[in-house]
């Protein structure tokens, strides 16, 4: 016996997030750590419950173990409901075999039976890799008021950046007459946030139609939305004001973390009216030692700080030994920075060990590039890791300043032109 729900949310959490490189080697992108205590998906899940939406399907496919485990029964977000609550929806097999999700639209298509159980009038489609605080109930009110078939949340972006987004072109009343994916010459600055509300009946119609089209890539932005526009359905743009960030690249992830700093930060997490919930680990309050210096930073529980931390975000359980300096960096859970080491303009993933007098990265002020240490990396004492390098997991780096032997090397380019060279590879997986 299930209760009817007015609106069910479907959260697309399947992405590999390949532009986040080593951070997503073993975890799905929505499970990436953020802001000292959070994971990226905390924002969307908290938005749901704060908006009164208590039924959320999370569509996972890529490396879901840690994400599943993090979401688990949904208790941290008060989504452990007898009716509704959060449910993980992996691909599965039916009588005649099964399919992996072929695209965002196909993922929803394969889970229509989940939606049906709650017989909602509206379906909210969300993405699990954006950082923002948004009251979906207001958007739903707007959707109902407009009697729209589909409403797309849009954000005003600087016109020069508009070509990086899906852009909606609308009439004065908000009705969309055109949707362009990454237009070279954008006609407006209203960028889609990847948040859609559909009338369930309209959604189903177009999902079934799209599924039947063998040339479709089964994607909302590329296929379903354009098809709806072409058929003359009523699509509206819902203007959102406030902080929103797609943390799909290392650079934007670093920036979003930095947005927590300052006296009036761009992203305020001390807002008691819109709490972002997260899964707790039993850490004690952090300790700041004698001779430590902490300025303009965010520090989570369980840290032991004996060195200097400036303009940085430290996650739970980080230890900074005497004389170590962390600047303009994001340092994730259970990392150990030993005496005399320095970290500049870097992202350091969980469980990293940085040896004595190691120097990681280059000062941002000197136009240095972002440096990244993957989870579990152990860096031997006196090593120097250059700005812009991305170091893979579970390896022990020695004398990286020396010319390197061949072995295992990646030199992928990121948006910010980051590259990495490897000497040897440890045992992963």
């Amino acid at each position: 016996m299930f209760r009817k729900k007015k609106c069910v949310a479907m959260l697309l959490a399947g992405g590999q997030g390949s532009r986040l490189y080593v951070l997503t080697k073993q975890i799905a992108k929505p499970a990436v750590h953020f802001g000292g205590k959070y994971r990226i998906i905390d924002f969307t899940l908290s938005n749901c419950i704060n908006s009164g939406i208590d039924t959320v399907g999370v569509l996972t496919q890529y490396q879901p173990l840690e994400l599943n485990d993090y979401i688990d029964n949904g208790e941290p977000w008060d989504l452990d409901r007898t009716y509704g609550g959060v449910h993980i929806l992996p691909p599965y097999q039916r009588v005649h075999g099964g399919d992996w999700y072929k695209g965002t639209a196909n993922a929803i298509y394969q889970n229509m039976n989940f939606i049906d159980r709650y017989t909602p009038e509206y379906v909210l489609i969300l993405s699990g890799d954006h950082i923002y605080k948004m009251d979906y109930s207001k958007m739903l009110d707007y959707h109902i008021e407009k009697n729209a078939d589909c409403t797309i949340a849009v954000l005003s972006v600087p016109l020069e950046e508009a070509s990086r987004f899906g852009i909606t072109n609308t009439y004065d009343d908000g009705r969309i007459y055109e949707f362009e994916e990454k237009p070279t010459e954008p006609k407006s600055n209203k960028a889609s946030m990847g948040v859609y509300i559909f009338k369930k009946e309209a959604l189903y119609r177009y999902l079934i139609e799209d599924e039947a089209d063998e040339y479709s890539s089964k994607d909302f932005g590329k296929n379903v939305i354009p098809a709806m526009l072409q058929s003359g359905e009523k699509l509206y743009a819902y203007p959102f004001q406030g902080y929103w960030k797609d943390v799909g690249t290392l650079q934007s992830l670093w920036e979003a973390n930095m947005d927590l700093l300052g006296t009036s930060p761009k992203l305020d997490l001390n807002d008691h009216k819109w709490k972002i919930s997260y899964r707790h680990y039993p850490d004690h309050p952090h300790y700041i030692g004698k001779g430590a210096m902490v300025a303009d930073s965010v520090i989570a529980e369980g840290c032991e700080i004996h060195g200097t931390v400036v303009n940085s975000v430290l996650f739970s359980g980080v230890t900074i030994e005497k004389g170590a300096v962390v600047k303009d960096s994001v340092v994730m859970r259970n990392t150990l920075i030993k005496e005399g080491a320095s970290i500049d303009y870097s992202i350091v993933d969980v469980g990293v060990q940085v040896g004595q007098n190691v120097k990681i990265g280059e000062e941002k002020v000197n136009e240095g590039e972002l440096t990244v240490l993957g989870s579990g990396v152990k860096v031997k004492e006196d090593t120097f890791i250059h700005g812009g390098e991305i170091v893979d997991s579970n390896m022990y780096i020695k004398y990286l300043e020396k010319p390197m032997a061949k072995g295992f090397a990646i030199t992928r380019k990121t948006d910010g032109a980051i590259h990495a060279n490897f000497l040897e590879r440890g045992v992963v997986e």
Partner: protein, 372 residues
Amino acid sequence: MNAVGIVFSNIGDKHVPEITKKRIMATVPFGGRYRLIDFVLSNMTNSGINKIGIIAKRNDQNMIDHIGTGKAWDLARKRGGIRVIQPYGDDSDGIIPIDNRLETLKGIMYYLDKTDEKYVILSDCDMVGNISYADLLHNHIAQNADVSVLYKRSSEYVSWKRTRTLLELDENERIVTVKDSSKAKKGDALFLGTMILQKDFLKRHILKAVHYGYKRLSDYCKEFSADITMKGIEFKEYSEYIDSLESYLKCNLDLLKLAVREDLFRKIYRPIYTSVNDSAPSKYGMNAVVENSIIADGCIINGTVKNSVVFRGVKIKSGATVSNSIVMQDSEIGINATLNHIVTDKNVIIGENRMLCGHQTHPFYIDKGAII
């Protein structure tokens, strides 16, 4: 673990009258984010005890709120889990004064009768320590004792504002004498408020003791010491009794020592849990100066904090200086204010330029919600 936990939630309520004016001992805030009962509940759940009865008197609203469903200790169970139990007297409406342990235990016999577990662990809430009850039970069975009692050896000469319970043991760790004292010399054995025994043994002797009119468990044990094998089990890690505002301040400031944090909070497989409230991590401003201090989540630190414990959601404004103090949840220390040897309760607001000073042996306590 084949044991049920029984927690006395307000033994010692009168010890720290300032802080327990509107709360019971179990819910006294501690260490930046904890309540005292968190230690015993965490110790029990970490030891695999999943049935816990907390004996409470009436005004336990804070505790009920703190425990909630018991989820924070993984004890929101269908079978077992945490239950708040009220002792019944013979008169079905009468409440038993909880200080009378023997009557109290008699009053919860109905709860013990419903449990299948073989052993009972009894604990108070006025002690801070990370204890493995699993080891305790193992020891209890190995020693073949009727009753096992946890104690620690004093490492130096100490005296206290109130009396504590000292044990005298023979070479086989059998307890020979139990006495109250307000001081201990080096090597003296201090009772740590934790006992373990078989449920059936407990039930039998409680009825007997109440029948003979005993009030104190220790008096009864003393009298029948020939019949009852009471053994001591030494606890060698950090532990501290809280029986005065002074010891409360001292024990909080003990957390500034790494060894104490290691003993209490950083044991693998034995974390201390507490109820959660989704605080953001703490923020430090450009002018923050923090030294040798414990800072919980959700704080905004723009001033100076030294040798202090700062609870969740505290704001330290710029120019303010807090030293040797405890600042409880959601308090606010105004611009250029100075605090030294102060214990503020929750939601205290200290205005600009205020100067408050207590002394190490006489900390100055500021009432909950006070605006100064």
